[in-house]
Assembly symmetry: C2
Homo-oligomer: 585 residues x 2
């Protein structure tokens, strides 16, 4: 813990005059904070009084340059005994840190100072009075600071400043009003686990170099398969770098299952293969087909109903059509939680069709998989247990830090046969332990980042019931939003009915458009509303929510809630903010 007086770097406001925007509150808060024992009071207080973001705000195109100084000890004990008082970063370089001789002391001081900067950012991230984003246009940002790489080293004072500056311009993805992506929020245990992962700095391909992490992957994937409903949690799987790659794996394995000769002979040796997925599915299915040499033309997009769910009869019709042409249907990818509408395809009906035509059933539950943790909502994925493979991204609805995406496969050994190349220099067969734990040869990657530990540690900390509570709360918040806006003046829902996931899709119609007839001109004007409101949100930095067109529907807002920090008040705020920023349009 920080020493009494161990300081955040305090640039600017060195006179302690406090938060210029709200000096009264800041001072009162600081008085409260000071009552905490030890360093936390100072730390919290420094958050209010010492503003690490100042140098660059005032810096213009100048890199921020405090006068060369000893480490910014803001200690109030004189004479100062802080270790920092003896560490002058202006004279230290990376070469003075470990493994340098006598490197322990500057290393501990430096890493602790980095940590102070990070802790300050973490606390700020959850503070509604801070901006979600301090927006700058790309050219501005490029010129605002010197980002260039040079021949000569910089000292550690400069390095610490770069850390602060980088965070100043970063998006606070943990901010309670950040709703922009399917992955939002910042989980403290997940963060701690990710720091540990970085510190362990290893690679997943063998048990030899990642013993614990390989076992934790084994344990965690098995648990996920149990939750999917595969008997005894049997099967296979891997953590991959994102849902798009997980989906590509599914396609790759499905193809191999049907035509193992494709591995050696390529697509030239097999008939024309066809994959089916809904028109609302994620673009990664097409991207995967392009990469795998299947071609995007061989991905048939199945029609959806008005709620964005795949229509099974259209699926069957298109399968028959493909077969009549002599093509071979090899994969159906159903979506459990579409990106925009949050729709769940009817998995049971899809499973019946896949069974009937002997087609690999994949479920892209990257976004919706989290609902399997909720007794209240898991029925939306009924039938997922009949899938041959499932993509499930804990970094989305379960709030695990980026990246954490799992591909689960029902049949054991298939991934290995599909991908193994038997590189003897990596996967020696005469090692002294059970080689079945060397997972590298079933991956497309050689080196593979440790993505499992943050999920595992969060799971221990929250329990399945903790994930359930988080998910139920997000779904409840989405329903709250839906209930407020469905009949509110100035809002139109993109589809009728209560959302199945946390996606709430709507247009905000400014007063000037409400009087117009529903014609092309109105559509054209409406299409410009969301982009302008979004741009203003980013410039004010108050909140972020995504918008997009879809099919014949012009730009609408897609609100999603996966952020554990969000509350009813934040939903209220969002609505008010949209109206504030859009009423003049």
């Amino acid at each position: 813990m920080a020493s009494p007086g161990s300081g955040f770097w305090s640039f600017g406001s060195e006179d302690g005059s406090g938060d210029p925007e709200n000096p009264g509150t800041a001072r009162a808060w600081c008085q409260v904070a000071q009552k905490f024992t030890g360093g936390i009071g100072n730390k919290l207080c420094a958050l209010l009084y010492g503003d690490a973001e100042k140098p660059s705000e005032s810096g213009g195109s100048q890199p921020p340059r405090a006068p060369s100084r000893k480490a910014a000890c803001a200690c109030n004990q004189k004479p100062c005994s802080c270790p920092k008082a003896d560490v002058n970063y202006a004279f230290l370089h990376a070469t003075d840190l470990l493994p340098a001789c006598d490197g322990e002391r500057p290393t501990l001081a430096f890493l602790q100072d980095v940590m102070d900067i990070l802790l300050q950012y973490v606390v700020k991230s959850f503070d509604r009075s801070t901006k979600v984003i301090d927006f700058h246009y790309p050219n501005e940002l490029l010129q605002e600071y010197n980002w260039e790489l040079a021949d000569q080293p910089q000292n550690l004072e400069e390095i610490l400043m770069h850390c602060q500056t980088t965070l100043k311009y970063a998006i606070k993805t943990g901010h309670p009003r950040y709703f922009n992506q399917l992955s939002t929020g910042l989980d403290m245990v997940g963060l701690a686990a990710d720091w540990l992962t970085s510190t362990a700095n290893t690679n997943m391909f063998t048990y030899e170099i990642a013993p614990v992490f390989v076992l934790l992957e084994y344990v965690t994937l098995k648990k996920m398969r149990e939750i999917i409903g595969w008997p005894g949690g049997s099967g296979d799987g891997i953590f991959s770098p994102g849902g798009a790659i997980s989906n590509m794996y599914a396609m790759l394995i499905a193809r191999f299952k049907m035509f193992p000769e494709v591995k050696e002979k390529g697509m030239a040796a097999v008939p024309r293969l066809i994959a089916f997925t809904s028109e609302h599915s994620h673009f990664s299915l097409k991207k995967g087909a392009a990469a795998l040499g299947i071609g995007t033309d061989s991905v048939i997009l199945i029609k959806c109903d008005e709620r964005g769910k795949m229509i099974p009869s259209d699926l069957e019709r298109r399968i028959l059509e493909a077969k009549q042409k002599g093509f071979v249907p090899f994969l159906v990818s159903a979506t459990a939680g579409t990106t925009v509408y949050g729709a769940f395809d009817p998995l049971l009906a899809v499973a019946d069709i896949c069974k009937k035509y002997k087609i690999w059933m994949h479920v892209d539950a990257a976004w919706g998989g989290g609902l399997l943790m909720s007794r209240k909502h898991k029925w939306k994925l009924s039938g997922v247990e009949r899938a041959n493979s499932v993509t499930w991204n804990p970094h989305k609805m379960m709030g695990v830090p980026l990246q954490c995406s799992a591909l689960l496969v029902r049949e054991e050994g298939l991934m290995q046969s599909c991908n193994q190349m038997h590189a003897s220099y990596l996967f020696q067969q005469d090692k002294h332990y059970d080689l079945s734990y060397d997972t590298g040869d079933k991956a497309l990657q050689c080196g593979r980042h440790v993505d499992v530990f943050k999920l595992w540690l969060m799971w221990r900390a929250k329990g399945t019931t903790g994930f359930e509570a988080h998910i139920d709360k997000c779904l409840e918040l989405a329903e709250y939003l839906y209930n407020i806006i469905k009949n509110r003046e100035g809002y139109e829902m993109v589809f009728d009915g209560k959302p199945q996931h946390t996606n709430v899709c709507f247009w905000y119609v400014p007063p000037s458009l409400r009087v117009l007839e529903d014609n092309e001109e109105r559509m054209s004007r409406l299409s410009k509303v969301a982009p302008v409101i979004k741009a203003r949100m980013m410039e004010y930095g108050t909140t972020m929510v995504s918008y997009q067109p879809l099919g014949d529907k012009v730009n609408f807002f897609r609100m999603v809630i996966s952020n554990p920090a969000a509350t009813h008040q934040d939903i209220d705020f969002l609505i008010e903010e949209i109206e504030r920023l859009g009423q003049d349009l």
Copy 2:
């Protein structure tokens, strides 16, 4: 900085009796450490006296359980004013941390305690008296601790223990005697940057949600292209999840450049494509060909000379052979730094051949790319500037934490055309900033981890000259090893001559084999030597180095040096250790 007395968790040895293995040294060290002002003295001292690894060593199948207690404040001030003294983790759960109301204080305490655990691990990693690995067989490790996931949450005391236990069983990849992989070492600035990346917790696909990181990727890739030698650093590129994926990108883009219709029509629409790479190249080329629907049979392995370099005349012969069969050569992947021998293919000769036959030239410099930073060694990659694409993994020779792999492409815009799917819900075309910074649509991934920041920050801290010094030092150490063993009794070099990279490949021949004739029996016995020595190394935990067979050569050691912590003494140690562990075989 840590407060005076802010403690590491001190399990066991609470009586301060010190390091049982070496109590005198530990006590002396501790006395020195205490002279440091502030908390560092205590911290260093706690490293010696409080052994965080103890609980699990004694725990057997029981999860380690200290009696329920307040946070392990090891403060020597009584009455204790450490903030930890008021934080009882046994009664706290993840739900008490931010964003919970009043969550700041437990959050700061918890994260600081995690950080203390990590700092302790960092310092231990560089301590030659600690083990590189505390080896357990998979089944042992599965039973040694309860790793299972449950419905109910665990308290934060348990979570902190899991962090300690995980690190106890982790490999110390930064240890000066860890030589097992191409990626070794633990850079302090890189580590700090990776912690920051975790804290920022965002995704690379748009400028909107990763403004600074997207710009830093732009700046860094441009710099890398300049160093490769492409005029003005022009071109394209991306950080991808590892060298295997970078190589797959190269193959994908090369195919698209020649036959853009493959994106829609698949491999069925194009003639049979052939890729060429050396028999010593990385297995990812074949893996990529299998995935992309090209097929492993269409990857022709070109013969290497005795040093592992591709023979250009054989390349040309095989290209002609393929053309005569009506196949279309579309890619040559030359290797700059092979995995086992560290060989550099003759890039200029390969470039001439690629030019003559109009074939895409890729250079897999995942391992050797770092040498471009060295004025002394970069000649080994002469001709790389003529490549169409280059894989370069800063996480290998440049010591950047895992993962950090770049694919650089000479022609701008090609990646985008090859991979874009125009998903309007992600890459809105009516945003208010310059969309050329939205890099997501040129990637195969959708979500993409921020891999650039650690490289960028290290580059600022070391400068190009710092990387150069590191690389020159590693090469010098490899030469030192080579010079010692080339004529030493009991060693046989796998290939003659000074290593070009840091790979030194050799057999250790135990005394009992030195007298045998060079026949099959000797080979068979020799093949068992390296695996046994390696197993013993791991069980003692003293060092780790890799071994493998290659072609008709039985198991030999492949020593590689990328670890900035390694010294001449560590090389001496390795030799002695091999002899100690192998002399009875």
